[in-house]
Amino acid sequence: MKPKSVAVVGAAETTRLGKIPDVSVIGLHADAALNAMKDAGLKPSDIDGVATAGVSPVELAHYLGITPTYADGTSVGGCSFMLHVRHAAAAINEGLCKTVLITHGESGRSRVGAGGFGRAPSSLMGQFEMPYGVTSPPTMFTIPVLRYMKTYGVTEADLANVAVIQREWAAKNPRASFKDPITVDDVLNSPMIAWPFRMLMCCLVTDGGGALILTSAERAKDFPQKPVYILGTGESVETPMVSQMEDFTSSKAFRVSGKKAFDESGIKHADVDHLMIYDAFAHLPLYGLEDLGFVKPGEAKDFINERNTAIGGKLPLNTNGGGLSYMHSGMYGMYALQESVRQMRGTAAAQIEGAKISVSHGVGGMFAASGTVIFTNEG
């Protein structure tokens, strides 16, 4: 896509985050969508493109009373929304539609109107992974990490420190689920989930949602909010089976998606003021920093331990508190995008002063897919 040709003109999360037992999944999509439309000063009749994952774009359009000329149901897990942004930008530039609504909603905690987690026993995962007792993401996403730790001399304390620093960011965010300070010892003494992962190295489980509205940069100037421009995007997928990743010390989907986005944007890593890396578990920021090219392979633990990503550091990372402390309904990518947009608007709880470029990087499945969006507030 042409950099800065499309902008975010509406962005909002659900009215509440956390425990929302009185709203169903589709209701969370709608709440976020209504908040985003209010933010942009639009009505459903002004929207002509829809994109979502988890529910079908058909269900979404019907529920909200939208008649789209563009519908995207790409569903590759938690980074689906990064891909939706990318596809929407292309669709707007191609004239398929003018105004795209992207929604997320998930009743991760309360399970109201939510589907189950299951795989057909005849699928590749059902045949070659499920029989060995994997239960849920904490026993799949985590599989590569011992190889990464052995290769680069990463310790359990290094993993724990990722969670500690993100909690420091969360403390600045009134909407974060967990705000109390934690230490490396606290993390290492928290209940064992799947060794070497302790509870405080795993994302929390909550209810919530978010929505974005995109339109052409040309139209964006007429909206009430400061436009946040799309500078570059990338996407890729690798394998649905974590055991079949090409390299357990690096995500191919991350590398391909990140490079595509950086190449498209024309920026250098040193230009980035703010970074979001989807942190379903504490190892994800380590992989992300390396695979996106901010540091060399094996350098991420020192980069984090030296507090470069912490408050006051040169590369503020996961400033909302991340999936580890902010919220995580199951497909966290939308919340990473929301924080990037807030930072670019200058309205984040832990605002980075003068930030002009924000990178939002997502993962889907267990290292299965990836999407990257680079934003700027300079038109």
Binding site: Q127, M130, T135, S243
Partner: protein, 134 residues
């Protein structure tokens, strides 16, 4: 509660029949010689349909794992390792480790492993791995 078991498809049946008969069967491209897993009727490296099934050595190394402390209901009550073994022939596969304690001390990365077929039903035996002997 019975353990969750695979349902073979036409493309994977040879693998599961092999496990039932005590053989770890892999596939190999006869053109580019790439060995691969999981089973499919073409080479994922060069897309050739000229592939063959062969009996693998059943040997490999412990590549990575976690020890799950929240057992799935069909897996008993004790913590167990969910592991990836890298086979001598190249491919990696998910498995469980048997014949040794399920502890970080006993499960050392890169230790030599050998396949062990654990019969579940008349049709399905799961390829598990144990520390190599001798």
């Amino acid at each position: 509660m019975a353990r969750m078991l695979p349902e073979p498809t036409p493309e994977t049946r040879h693998f599961w029949e092999g496990c039932r008969d005590g053989e770890l069967r892999l596939q190999r491209c006869t053109e580019c010689k790439h060995s691969y897993f999981p089973p499919r009727a073409f080479c994922p490296k060069c897309a050739s349909r000229e592939v063959e099934i062969y009996k693998a050595s059943g040997k490999g190394i412990l590549y990575s794992y976690v020890i799950n402390h929240r057992p799935r209901p069909d897996m008993g009550t004790e913590p167990y390792a969910i592991a990836v073994v890298q086979l001598d022939e190249g491919p990696r596969m998910m498995t469980n480790i048997v014949g040794c304690p399920q502890t970080p001390e006993a499960l050392v990365l890169d230790m030599p492993m050998q396949v062990h077929f654990a019969k579940q039903t008349d049709d399905i035996s799961l390829p598990l791995f144990e520390p190599a002997k001798g």
